[in-house]
Every structure is written in C-alpha cells, then in structure tokens.
Symmetry: C2
Subunit: 408 residues, 2 copies
Amino acid sequence: MDIINIFYYLAIILLFGKSFGLIARKIGLPQVAGMVIAGVALGLLSRFHSDDNFFLRFFIKPNDEEMNVLHVFSQIGVVMILFSSGLETNLSQLKQSGLAASLIALAGVLVPMAFGTLGCLAFMGGFSEYTQDKLLNSIFVGTILSATSVGITAETLKELGKINSKVGQTIISAAIIDDVLGIIALSVVTSIKHGGIGQIGITLLKTAGFFAFAIGLGILTRLYFKWEENKFPHKRRTSIFALALCFFFAFCAERFFGIAAITGAYMAGIVLSGLSDTDFVDKKIEMSGYLLFSPIFFTYIGISADFEGFGLSYLLFSVIFIVLGITGKILGCGLAAKPFGFNVKESATVGCGMIARGEVALAVYAAGSALIAPENGIDPLIATILLIVTSSILCPILLKAFFKEKSV
Amino acid sequence: MDIINIFYYLAIILLFGKSFGLIARKIGLPQVAGMVIAGVALGLLSRFHSDDNFFLRFFIKPNDEEMNVLHVFSQIGVVMILFSSGLETNLSQLKQSGLAASLIALAGVLVPMAFGTLGCLAFMGGFSEYTQDKLLNSIFVGTILSATSVGITAETLKELGKINSKVGQTIISAAIIDDVLGIIALSVVTSIKHGGIGQIGITLLKTAGFFAFAIGLGILTRLYFKWEENKFPHKRRTSIFALALCFFFAFCAERFFGIAAITGAYMAGIVLSGLSDTDFVDKKIEMSGYLLFSPIFFTYIGISADFEGFGLSYLLFSVIFIVLGITGKILGCGLAAKPFGFNVKESATVGCGMIARGEVALAVYAAGSALIAPENGIDPLIATILLIVTSSILCPILLKAFFKEKSV
C-alpha cells in the first residue's frame, strides 16, 4: 500500500463529498444524501481510471488494501456519529417522556421492521422458498427502517412554531426513544447473525450481557469522569479519554458480545451523557467527525455500492421498501398515538413527523451489510438512499399541510 | 485485517499516550516526549502478548496490516501538525523580522546540520570508510537537529516578562524563520534520497519546481478561499476544503516532486495563512489533530521504535548527538547574533533560547527514517527523544540563569 495515495483519496473524498453535500442541501435534500451520491459518482468514475492517460489517472481507484484503510476511516466515522448521538441523549428527559411517547416509539420501530421484513421476504420469492439466510436478510432490511431521524422534523416544527405543542413534544420524545430502541433492535439482529437463529436464547443472553457490562463499567467510568471534570474542567484530556472509551466499548461490543460496534459507541455516549463536560466533549468529537470521518463514512458507502443487481426488479424493490418504510411509521406511530388523547388528524401528524430517515439508517445498513447473503441478491443500499431522500422531502411537506389545518 | 482490533489499539494508544503525556508535563517534560515513551512502553509490552492468557492478550500486538493502518493515522497526524504550523505562520511578521533574525535562523539550521552530519559520519567509522549511503544517513541525522521548537522558549520568555525585549523578539522571529528553513532543508534531503546524490542538480530543480507549483496553485486557491470566507464566513466547509487542500499538497509534494509529504502540508498551511478565517480553520484542524491523530503519531513513533542496535555504543552516539545538537544551536545562533549589536551574554542568551527541540524534530525523523540503510545501523529515534527531553529541560534553566544577570 502506498500511503501517499491515501492522502489523495482523502483530498478527493472530502472535496467531492462536501461539495455534493452542500449542493444537496441547496436543493432541499439532506447533506448525507449528497455525500453518498458523491461516493456513488466517484465509484462509477473509478471504472474509467487509467494510469496511462493524464486526466483519467486522477479518477480514484483504491486497491483492496487501500479500500480497507478507507473502510477503517468510515467505521470510525459511523462510530463517532453514534457516540455523539449517545452523548446528546438527555436521559432525564427520556425518563419523563411518559407512556405515550414510549409506546409510539415502540410501535414506530416494530411496525416498519415487520413491514420491511415481510415485504422483503415476499419480494424474495415468497414464504414457500423460505430459508434462514433469506429470513436474516429480510429482518436486517426491516431493521434499516426502524430509526427515525429527528433532525428534519425538529427543524420543521421549529419553523412552524409547533415544537412546544403537545404533538411536537410527543414527536420529539418518541424520536429520541426510537433511537435507543433502534439500537437494541440492531443489537439483537447482529447477535443473531453471529449466533444463528437456532441459538436465539444465547443471542438474547449475550445482548443482555452487553448491556449489563456497559452499565456496570459505565457507572465506574462515569464516576471517574465526574471526578475529572471537577478537578480539571474543560480540559482536552477529557475528550481524548472519552474517545478512548468510545473505541473501547465499540471493540468490546463486537468482540465479546457479537453486537455491532456502533451499539457500543452509542452506549459509551450514554454513559458520558448529562455530565457538566458532556457538551464540551461532544463539540470536540462532533468537530473531528464532521471535519474528516463523517464525510468519509457517507462517501465511502457510496463508493462501495454494488450496482451488479441493479435493474427494473431492484427499482420495484426500492419502491416497495420506501412505501413500507413510510406507511410503517405513519401507521405504527399514528395508531399508537390515537388512544392517548390525540384525534385522528393529530395522530396522523405524529405519524408523519416520524417518517424521516437519515444517517442512522445508513449506520444500520453499514453495520449489517455483511448479513446479506449474495445469493439473495438484495443489497438495500440504493433503496435506503432513496428512502432518505424521499422521506426528507415528504416529512416537512406533510407536517406543514397538517399543521395548516386549524384543528391541530 | 480485523477492523474491530483497530478500535482496541486506538483506545489503548489514546489512553496511554495521553496519560504518559500528562505525567511528562507534570514532571516538567514536554508532552510529546511522554507520548513517545508511552509508545515505546506499548511496543515493549507487545512482546509479552499471548492469546492464551486472559491478561496477556490485552497487550496490543498489531499484525503487519494493522500496523500499516496505524502508520496511515500517524502520517495524517504529522501532516496535520505541519499544516497547523503553516497556518500559524505570520508571513507579514516574517517579512519584517529583518536581517538579524534571518541570519541567526540560517546559522541555527546550518551549524547543527553540519555538526550532526560530521559527527554521525565520524561515529560510523570515520571518513575513510565513506559511502554514499552513510553520507545520506548522516545528512539526515543532521537535518533532525535543524528545527527549533519555539513553544518552551516562548513560555519561559513570557514567564520572565522578557518576550518583548530585543533578545526575546529576536529569538521568536528567528525560531519562526527556522521552521521554514528546516522544511527547505528536509525537502532537499528527501529529494536527494529519491534521486541520489549524483543527480543533485535535478533534485534541486525538483525542489524549486515544487515551491513554484505550491506558490502558483496557492495563489489561485487563496483567491478562492478569500471569496469563500467573504461569502460564507466561519463555515465548516472552509475547514473541510482546507483539509482537502492540505492532503492534496502533501500528495503532490511526494508523488510528483519526491519531497516529504509534510513539506506539502506545511506549504498548504502557508497558502491559507493570514486570511480572516485562518484562525477558525486552524482551531478545527488542531482540535482534530489533538484529539486523535497527534497522540497516534507520537505514540506510533515509540511503538515502531527498533531496539535492535541499542547498547553502549548507541548511548555514546546519543550523547554525541545531544551535545552536537545543543552546542550547534548555541554556537551557530550566538555567533550570528554577535555582529548585530548584541553583547556576548545577549548573544549566548539568543543561542540558548534556540536549543529546544520538539515535535518538528520527530516529524523530520518520521519523514526521513526510510533513508536509513539498515547496514549503517544508526536509527536516531531514541537519541532524538533524549535530545527533546534534555533540551526542553535545559532551555528554561539557561534562559532563566542568563536573564537573572542584570546586563541582559
């Protein structure tokens, strides 16, 4: 491997990833979608790479070992994104959010997961040709549909002045709980991948074991960080040790419990959330992530996209995937909201507020993509990108339409 | 390669690197020395690694491919350090610093380089057994001695209230110019490595070519960044694009001109220095570097240290190296200061203010270590660490002693 090439790849990835991200935002799409599309473009262009032509040699074409290095960077990127999410979790707010938000979140995770799993199974030849691989593949596809991205909804609600309304608060609370539930769902799914469906008992035990480990070690670590932030407030060392903890949890989750590394990173974030230096640490982590690792993560996903199976059939799959993903959230969350004193329109608004997907969907995709047995043929990456784009456009439109009606 | 292992290595490196760094600072040594020593300790402990023993398996022992990944991280670390140095260069101050500081800096680069080269050649069997490899090795060892680290001196001068005195200002100006000259010296030396001493004409041409390229492309890029900082001040994109430029320059320097990547990064920093968003960008870059890459760089240097040739002979070499490095600066800078209206004591003070070495010496070491032909046997890493430690202790002591005498 030539290290100097890596510098070139990083330069190109940062330049194109960020530029496409900015263009995406300019036309009303989420930046992450732009970055992934930049990666897809770079991946397609790499086919034209030629060392013999002065211009064509500038298309990046990493060899296997170089791709491995970029993969490490992208994994660090997603781990930092989830660590930052964990840090930003407000545990005391989570406790107060009450039964309504909790059940809405639960339904908002389970219904789209079920829809996605069944839809994917049906698409792959129906239940008559059922195999364990296909089931795993389908559950994984369903899991991608579980996590709401609260960013776009929160922005829209702020813009409409409705973020402190009962509907607004319920959506935000549910979206926060939704993250935690999505992470648990992913843990179980990746555990099953390691253990096989037959060993589901051991798998669940391992998952429980990880959370026990994380909470136990977490309490000790938290004590240390509390001592440190009192003795040395706002010191750089706190961020460095926090990042070390994040990597350590990510490592332990996958190595000892067979759970996705991002789950470990997220738990490390929760362990350090709500301390007086948490914001300080989060800012530093987010900055580093933003500067280098996140653009690499999103662009790398695009670069590594496999277009082998792309065609009319895949397009049909994408449409089904998107429809199930969006209706799953609206139905699940809407129906769960109905018994809690919301009328039909309000319930529908809650459901529509939960449809947006973002970086966590891509993180789940990245964590689980090894689950896909190639003979099943469905790599949900492109469908996921399309879902992010569609839901991000649709969510503000629907919220605005519902809130314009007086009754909400 | 198992990506999950990388997370573990990063956690350990951050934890130990930073802890040792803090301990070093506590006992009055530079943090970087502590980090390198942490790396040496981790490297030595890795020999005890065993997968069979519960405790011994926690000693890190990266395989070749994993070491490659850590090497990439460490290279990004050093590139970011030099980029940041470049960004912090105050070009207009540099222009004003006048003849005295320029000549002091020049002598402070050339004399220790010459001392180091001659000393190393003599140590390796004298001039009778001269070979081109030995000469290259020696020039490289001399180059490590060239760069002053201004941090410790500046702190001491501030503490003594002498930073705005004539002597203080001269030291600071000379130390700034010293960085630029050191980078040029390194460029020439790495160029020679690629071309061989026989092609020194082509080599110098290539070096000049790189600076022409960097300045030409630099002027264009600067225009773009000026436009951007006016249109979108304090935006994250500026930092990302700046980092992309840094990587691109680093790539071009080494790939097309055979010059160390860090020279490219430093020039990219100079290109973007003195703009109204420069501080904003520098803060972001420094933060990312500080959080992850610099600790990895310094610790990696220690981990990869080779103790094969360590022994009494090496200790002797280290003593010679340190003595030449310190006397070279005192004599070179002191003698150059004398004709510019400084008395003997003041001249000696200027010389003593320039002896401190730090991260740039390690950066030069890392950039050139491939130059060392193994049969010559002298890997100057440990000597460099000892020089950093010794000079950092000695510099404040000498400065304080000289300034206590009334005449200065």
